[in-house]
Amino acid sequence: MDSQCVSILPRVCGVLLVSGSSLPDDTSLEKLLDWFTTVAQTGPSLLEACPCLVDFVSKVAFNYASGSSILSFTLKLTGLIGASEDGFKVLKECSVLKLVFNPQHWQEAGLWEDPCLRIGWIQGLKMILQHSEALSFFAQADLIEPLLQLQTDPSLFVASAANQTLAQVLLLCQSLSSVGHNGSKNRDLEHNSEISQLPGSQQILRLLAMLLVRVGPPLRDTLLLAVMNSLEELVTTSCSQLTVPLLDVILAANSGLRDDCVPKQRLIRLLWAMLNMKKPDDVMQAAAAVLRSHQSDPALSAHSARVLLLPLDIVTGVSLLDENSTGEQTTLVCFYLCNKCLLTPFKSMLSNPAEGELRILITEQLKRKSCISMICVCLSNIPQITLMASDRLPCPQRLIVTAVLLLLRLCCVDSSSSSPGCVEVVRFITGNSKVQKCALEALLVLSKSPGVKMVLVEVFKVLTEYLNSPSSDPSVLQKSYQVVIKWVGVCPDLSCITDQLREGFIQAVRKRACDTRWEARDSTVEFLGHLVEVPSCWTFTEQETEPLDVLLGGRRFTVPLLKEALQDPESYVRASSISALAQTLAPSWQDGTALTQEQEDIVAQLQEVLFQDSEGFARRAAVKYFTAWFSACSSPSSCWLLMQSMPTVLSQGVADLDWEVKLHTLELAELLLDRAFPDPSPSHSYAVMSDQDHRLPIAGQQSDLLSSLKNLVDWGVVSALLCGVVDCDRPVALKACQLLLKLRGIVCPVMDNAADTRVFCQLAGASVLQQVRKIQEIGKDTHVVSEACSEADEEGICASVDPECVGVCEVLRLLDLDEKLSILTQSSDHIYNSPLSLLQDILTAAAASSPPGQDSRQELVMDCY
């Protein structure tokens, strides 16, 4: 720990004792505590480091006049000190401990009313409960009672903290099972079993869930036995607000138990009971939770799946649930249900009487507006259902796909299709983008289902309908595109896509590319990019082709659309179109096919974007385009256009106003750097090379390096790095610094000896030059530039009139890159966040608030206004 901090800490403690209210800001105590925590964790002991703290704590404990925030801080600090056994002893010796953690003490002082103090008390207690000594103190001082009371505290924070502390107590008990504290434990359990009022129940259920996840077997079993009756009672009273916490508890308890143990059986029964609750919403929630928890009980999860599929079954009329009865029968039932007829005769037709009742309830609910949320719950759980083993599924997945497709049709405003299912629901779901999105999401997942290739055409038709519909929300369009990608990706056989389907799809995509809403245009452009990346497939002619060709007729179609999008008024769309172009052209880059005029035009347009675009997104994408091109290109050096663009891209990119553009530019520079100085190839890496071996052919190395370095300079990499290293944005400067270090590591060892081979590089802006000079001045050599230039003059390499020329190696040597790196690696606010600064701030604030300084502080406030 900083000695300076230690020296001023007593003064700070003094200040806190006297004028707790005049802190620089309300977080300083938290920061102080954080610092103490780090000290305690990293150093040997907090008290060793700061012996004055005990004194502080005992003084505060007797001084009621301190503000509640100071008291709360002190309580937590006491906990922190007492967390170590040594500290605990010290505190016990000076009898602070009993006083500080005695609620009676604070109640008498009238301070207990303040939630701030209560939370300090709880958290202090929680911190201290790390060892057996503390636990015996906890038991002897009889602190369990107040802690349990705090569980139902009016303050939510206090109640929650009390809950956590209780859990901590139990966990500590468990780990120290040798210590006999059964008294407290049992009392806790007893309390838990008296689950009574609603708000209390919610808290206790949360605590239970938390405990059940963390405790080990013996304690868990005791706990479960103790609470089982109450849980059963709660389930039977079935209060909607408690459904979720109850489920959490049951599932948490259930997860760790062996199948054959008694509590497990009771828990399963409880889950069954929850699946038969009165309110359909609760039942759906329960079923969803059961499925998500990956229950091992097959009957239970199968039933949950049935429950969850019920709304879909009712709405669409596709009989998902009754394998025995024919579709017609189910339809008939639905018809009668919808028409409020007497249902009793039809109950017998349903396999499960309880399910029949649930069906009635759900059907009723589907006639109300709240049907939206119910259908969404059903749809969003389809992924879980598809994960189930096929023999446990109520119906083949293919049927679920059919039902989802029918639902999507019903939701589409323009479609005139009706369903044999519930008629009333149509008015709520038609055009409802929430349901549409959920259904599309389900369809996305269902693409993996076995045997669904057959419905690809149907899927494709529905999606085209959505893409075509004028009333589709942009988010729905985006989802539809995702589903297209997914389905096309998993279906290797696209021979079913007829020309007519393709034509419709192309029209829809073309229209969306001209949409008035930028979100729709953006998704379209993104889709065009993603489609390229879908693996190739088979067409009806049994040729291997790309889905892009099958669906849209290939790059002939997409590239002009994307080029149009480069002119889009919305920067997001421009950025997306640039990325999509990169994706679209990547295959041709990899193949090394000759450049077309179109590609040249694109490069010209991208350079324009880099120069002129007013938005960062587009410029970032433009730099990334070149990065993608460079990394995809098999031999970049042979691609004249790419290498020709590099100096422009690098110089423009690194001078950008947007720090991300600059960083992306430096990443491109890194690629070039790696390409110029490739790592020893893998085939050589295992060959042991001695240091000498490495240096032997020094002349050859030098000439290679020299030419590579010259290339780097020609591409503009070095100037970009030098420009970046003095950048005011820290991440940019850091990256540039790292790259320069890398360059220095490669170049300098070899080139140092060769004085005659100098490489010069031009620096772009005057300001950059000035900064480099400044660094050089700090490096105590003011002559490099002039020297370089004069030498260059002598050698006639560099134009004598150009003062912006610097020698690369000299600069690399002279710039104190290591020092710069260490500065840059520290976060930019490291000075202001240091503990010393915090302590000083507290002192200054205190001084400012004392009478002579008061005016100046007020002035400061005035200034702010």
């Binding site: 323009d414 005139s416 009333e424 038609t430 004028p470 073309r510 229209k511 590319a513 001209c514 889009d568």
Partner: protein, 658 residues
């Protein structure tokens, strides 16, 4: 109160309301869908249309080659297009007192009603309605008169023959009543009967009812009407919109507390959201232009076109369409664009405020200034020299049967690069395109109908709570093509009263009260007496005078002194005594107190019997009955006048006299 329904078209209504002693016509819309049965009228000679084969029935028995032509399997009448007029036989049109017009689309049949029918009443409309309505009529007349057709086909209308015709012609109704377009002279004469009104202005009709237009938010100057007397209120809701477009927003609150609400003019496209359609319009337009094609927008010269132009104004730049020319071709294009800018008080608030800035309310002015939008009266003249492709053309008529649009359909129909975008919801686009088949041109249907949809109207009705709703029968069931959409109909309690063409509805409410005025001197002579706190009554003797549907109570004139002309001995010297009216009694006789009083007066033997309406007191000693009922007291007492008088006085003690 009766409602005569002269039109079955829900958005082009024509109803007559008989209310009190007035006969009020509500709108007179002209159903122009009949023109779809006719061949287009080309502006320049069209070899294709002129070469269409004449129609002969399959067995050859019927030959109407001259009147009917066949195109792509459909039969069209080769004659000047005719319109289906509102029903004119249901009631005598000369008895109509006033015609209330709600918007310029709903007045196109006006000349048929006001001319040659004996109509002598007044037409009420707002100024923009009149001016733009005049433009639309002028345009219609111009379209027809520009390409006169000598021939007038009538044979096919023969009932026997019509029955044998194919397709939609066979099912066309009332073809004998179809009429050719009116002349400009008739338009002028009809419009001269229009009297201008402003929103919320109250117009008295013969003192019997008051009519007042309210903003309906649908188009410039469009209105709903309130027709009310002192005790009854009928609201007439025609084309209304709650969307924020260019007109003043709809006034909903004034529709509250109506006894009857006549609801017409809901959206014809309940499933097409206008915003979505506008987006669709723009993207299809951009798509076509980018591909090098032309876009044709068949539209009316006023109305949605203002919103289309405004939307395009914002869209042009973003879609890189800055260089594409937009043409607006109509005989009234110039007036329409300019009129829209001067009706500031009829615009929405946002546009009204622009009037006070140095910028016009609609951005199409800027489009014209920057030469992006050009307007021409017709394709002849300047347009032909300045025409540049690819371009966007807005022109009429949306039925594609007449107007400059016919030319563009012939010109561009063969290329699949071009697109025709339908934005007007009045015509089925498939029917409109039928005589142009086969057609290579792309067709896009984005009907933009900003009128109320079912969701909005049910909310509106919930708010204004009319006692009864009357609407076209089409609104009481879901559309035929979407029979499962039970939300696309009116569901009300009590259910709305549906009407169809030629229905006569007895509106289900009775007039119960009438306001009567009392003259000051008569009022002065009244002596009110308080019957209960805050309520005073007085008797009035007066003469009731009814004139101009106003009722007034006047003092009874004094009998004129007898002229002493003849000196004849009179039998009776004095004029007959005008009997002072007996005071009116009010109050109730309390049983207990009355019995006590009777006892005081020595009547002790009283047997009280309870009856349904009150009590019967049997005075046994006197053998007298007193019936005390809620609305009368009877004393039955034989031959004992003094006793009766005593009893009467006792009863009167408990009653108040006026």
């Amino acid at each position: 109160m009766k409602l005569y329904c002269l039109s079955g078209h829900p958005t082009l209504p024509c109803n007559v309301l008989k209310f009190k002693s007035t006969t009020v016509m509500l709108d007179c819309g002209l159903d122009t869908t009949s023109v779809l049965n006719f061949l287009p009228l080309p502006l320049v000679h069209s070899p294709r249309l002129s070469k269409l084969p004449g129609w002969v029935s399959k067995d050859g028995s019927l030959n109407l080659e001259k009147e009917l032509k066949e195109c792509a399997g459909r039969v069209f009448v080769d004659s000047q297009p005719e319109f289906c007029l509102p029903e004119r036989e249901l009631l005598d049109l000369s008895t109509i007192d006033v015609i209330l017009i709600s918007n310029y689309h709903c007045m196109m049949a006006l000349p048929y009603i006001t001319e040659h029918t004996g109509f002598t009443g007044t037409v009420y409309a707002t100024e923009p309605t009149l001016q733009i309505g005049r433009l639309l009529m002028e345009e219609l007349v111009n379209f027809m008169e520009r390409v006169p057709k000598a021939q007038s086909a009538t044979c096919w209308k023969n009932k026997e023959i019509q029955r044998m015709l194919p397709g939609p012609l066979k099912d066309a109704v009332d073809v004998w009543t179809w009429k050719r377009c009116y002349s400009m002279q008739e338009v002028n004469s009809a419009l001269s009967k229009v009297q201008l009104v402003g929103y919320s202005q109250k117009v008295e009709l013969f003192g019997a009812v008051q009519v007042s237009p309210l903003s309906s938010g649908y188009s410039l100057g469009s209105s709903n009407w309130i027709i009310q007397s002192h005790h009854e209120k009928v609201s007439y809701v025609s084309g209304s919109s709650l969307l924020t477009t260019h007109p003043q927003p709809m006034d909903q609150s004034s529709l509250k507390n109506s006894d009857v609400l006549i609801l017409t003019g809901l959206t014809q496209m309940p499933t097409a959201n206008p915003d979505g359609m506008l987006g669709e319009f723009c993207s299809n337009l951009a798509m076509t232009i980018r591909a090098g094609g032309n876009v044709l927008v068949p539209c009316y010269s006023s109305g949605v076109i203002y919103d289309l132009l405004e939307c395009l104004y914002q869209f042009i730049e973003s879609a890189n369409l800055g260089t594409t020319p937009f043409y607006f071709i109509s005989p009234v294009a110039n007036s329409s664009l300019e009129f829209s800018q001067i009706f500031a008080e009829w615009l929405c608030h946002n546009k009204q405020t622009k009037v006070y800035l140095p910028e016009p309310p609609f951005p199409h002015a800027e489009l014209i200034q920057t030469n992006k939008l050009k307007h021409y009266p017709s394709i002849h003249g300047d347009f032909s020299s300045e025409f540049r492709q690819p371009c966007v053309v807005f022109t009429g008529h949306p039925s594609l049967r007449f107007g400059d649009v016919v030319h563009f359909m012939e010109l561009w129909g063969k290329s699949s690069l071009n697109t025709v975008i339908f934005t007007e919801p009045d015509f089925s686009y498939l029917d409109a395109l039928a005589p142009y088949q086969p057609l290579a041109m792309k067709c896009v249907y984005c009907p933009i109908d900003t009128r109320l949809n079912f969701h909005q109207v049910s909310k509106l009705l919930k708010e204004v709570q009319p006692l009864h709703v009357v609407c076209p029968e089409q609104y009481t069931q879901p559309p035929l093509t979407q029979s499962h959409r039970s939300d696309l109909m009116l569901e009300l309690q009590p259910p709305p009263m549906p009407y169809r063409r030629c229905s006569v509805l007895n509106l289900p409410f009775r007039r119960r009260y009438e306001r009567v005025y009392i003259l000051p001197e008569l009022a002065n002579s009244l002596v009110p007496s308080e019957v209960k706190p805050g309520v005073s009554v007085a008797t009035v003797s007066a003469v009731l005078q009814s004139k101009d549907n106003k009722h007034t109570l006047q003092s009874v004139p004094k009998a004129p002194p007898v002229a002493p002309s003849k000196k004849r001995k009179r039998v009776m010297e004095e004029p007959p005594m005008t009997m002072a009216p007996k005071p009116l009694l009010s109050g109730a006789v309390p049983l207990e107190a009355f019995l006590a009083t009777l006892q005081k007066h020595g009547i002790t033997e009283v047997k009280v019997e309870e009856t349904a309406d009150g009590h019967i007191l049997h005075l046994q000693a006197e053998d007298t009955l007193i019936q005390l009922e809620e609305d009368g007291t009877h004393i039955v007492c034989d031959n004992n006048e003094p006793l009766r008088a005593t009893l009467r006085d006792l009863v009167l003690r408990f009653l108040q006299k006026l």
